[in-house]
Amino acid sequence: MPALRLIAILQTDCPTCRLIAPYLNILADRKTPVAAISQDGEDATHEFVRQTEIRFPVERDPDFQLSKRFNVVTVPTLYVVDDQDRILRQEAGFDKNALNEVAALFGHPSIADPYDGAPAFKPGCTSRHLEVHTDDPGAAALDLHSRTGQRASVIDLADAEDPVEYCYRTFGDALPVVPPTVERVERMLAAAGCDAGRDPREVIARIPPCFGEATVEKIAANAVMAGCQPAMMRVLIPLTRAVCDERFNAHGVQATTHFAAPLIIVNGPVRQELGFHCRQNVFSNVARANSTLGRALQLILLNLGGARPTGIDMSALGNPGKFSFCIAENEVENPWEPLHVDQGLAPDQSAVSLFAAEAPHGVSEHNARTARGVLKAITYALATVWSYRSCMGSEAVVVLCPEHVRTIHRDGFLKKDVREFLFVNTGIPVRCYRDGEPGEGIAQRNMYKEITIDGEPCYQKFRSPESIKLVVAGGTAGKFSAVLGSWSTGPRGSQMVTYPI
């Protein structure tokens, strides 16, 4: 094989270039000949190299001669070149699949893990030599990608100060918290591996909308405040990555005027290992693991992300889940594959999923004796998600209680049959659009699909069966299931994310 080299053209203030830098470091560490070309000045380039801890050579391109020779349009662009400077492959922007294929060209295994918190794909910025130039230097670029942050400061409380009152006033929301003493935080850090060499300054993610650094230590301090036991750190680290996954869009979820709050759904063996509860009262005050994990996520979002309920979090009515919103799936009473398997993980893999959810809306159905009867009741709750005439834009989590599951399963329904039934039987009668009053969802009706439900012409409520996420949870007595509506969905809103633990 001819000797190959990898050349990356980068800009110091391009978020995608900052995103890709650690992956290029991995290639450099594996003895891949990587070199970068910076389109910026000496100081900016030096600072970029320092912040992103780049471990490969970076040259500057002050007059864009190199950029023009490569005819680069977007940064970052990666070029795989042979020993005669022929370009064998080029990849613009950030793309995990492409990065793994480039790694393979150099004989390396994958370098981009699908669950490391970074998006699968992110477009880049316009090459500097093609930009419109102004004299305005603008604000300094946010440092969003360095892997090491700062140690947290330590506050000495005066003897006369009540620690609980101090923490309530200074760090919490409206619910008092456990003071994050140095000793308690150290126990959390030990459980996260910091007694075995892990750096407590390691940045796990930056929390939108203010992009506060969620270091292992800051996560630990917020976990203490929430009342978590140290073992919860193994869930909180991937959960913090998941909530900052661009697909989830925490920026929008945290700032919207809508009801949405991140609902955590826990699957796999971690449920037994850490005591997550999945049966009666699953949405409420039943288990320390559920309550404190949900609470810790909210405190992390609040204290590090900065969306306070009196400020950037603009929700008109809010959501009781903003204190804590965490359930586990009842996999024992679930005859089908659980949620994390639907989301592509192995059954014995522990996982957390996040969905930007409204509060649960109950569906009581004690008299139906068939799968069809139970599911029809649920379709009427699904039809009102967001607003009754608004179709195609929403999703929903349907939490099926064990008694309903038994009825549905007895009729031979597979999980995909349940989803398909709910999809094809949830619609809004066309007559509802004829009253002449303006209303939400009416202007978009030319994009809706007309179907027939029980002989009545209707518009189909959801885009696809996959818009309906099925989870089994709750106590074994009582025929009460629930529908949780979504916020704005898809690539333009918030998408469900599932991360392995």
């Binding site: 947290a152 506050i155 003071p179 003493t181 650094e213 800051k218 869009n249 929008g252 919207t256 202007a443």
Partner: protein, 93 residues
């Protein structure tokens, strides 16, 4: 005994940028109107554009749109309106 507490708040220094100088008037200026894709935003901004042109003598009006109100404006949109004298953003519906 005094208690020592680990600060759980974000301590990253925010990067500050000063606001652009205010415009004394709009005569001969280039104004960008940014629609964030909320329903009705175009109706509101159509009227603003009309008033800018007829009442305030602007040189030109540039219309740009975010693909979704649920996320920050992509760099491509910001790039297209970076050079104007002022931006009016139509928020909410």
């Amino acid at each position: 005994m005094s208690m020592r507490i680990v600060n759980p708040l974000n301590e990253t220094a925010p990067s500050a940028a000063s606001a652009a100088p205010r415009l004394a008037n709009l005569q001969g200026r280039t104004i960008a109107l940014l629609d964030i894709s909320k329903p009705g935003g175009n109706i509101f901004l159509d009227r603003i554009e009309q008033r800018l042109r007829t009442d305030h003598g602007v040189a030109s009006v540039i219309r740009e749109m975010k693909p979704t109100f649920a996320k920050p404006a992509p760099l491509g949109v910001i790039e297209k309106i970076r050079h104007v004298d002022a931006v009016i953003e139509g928020l909410a519906d």
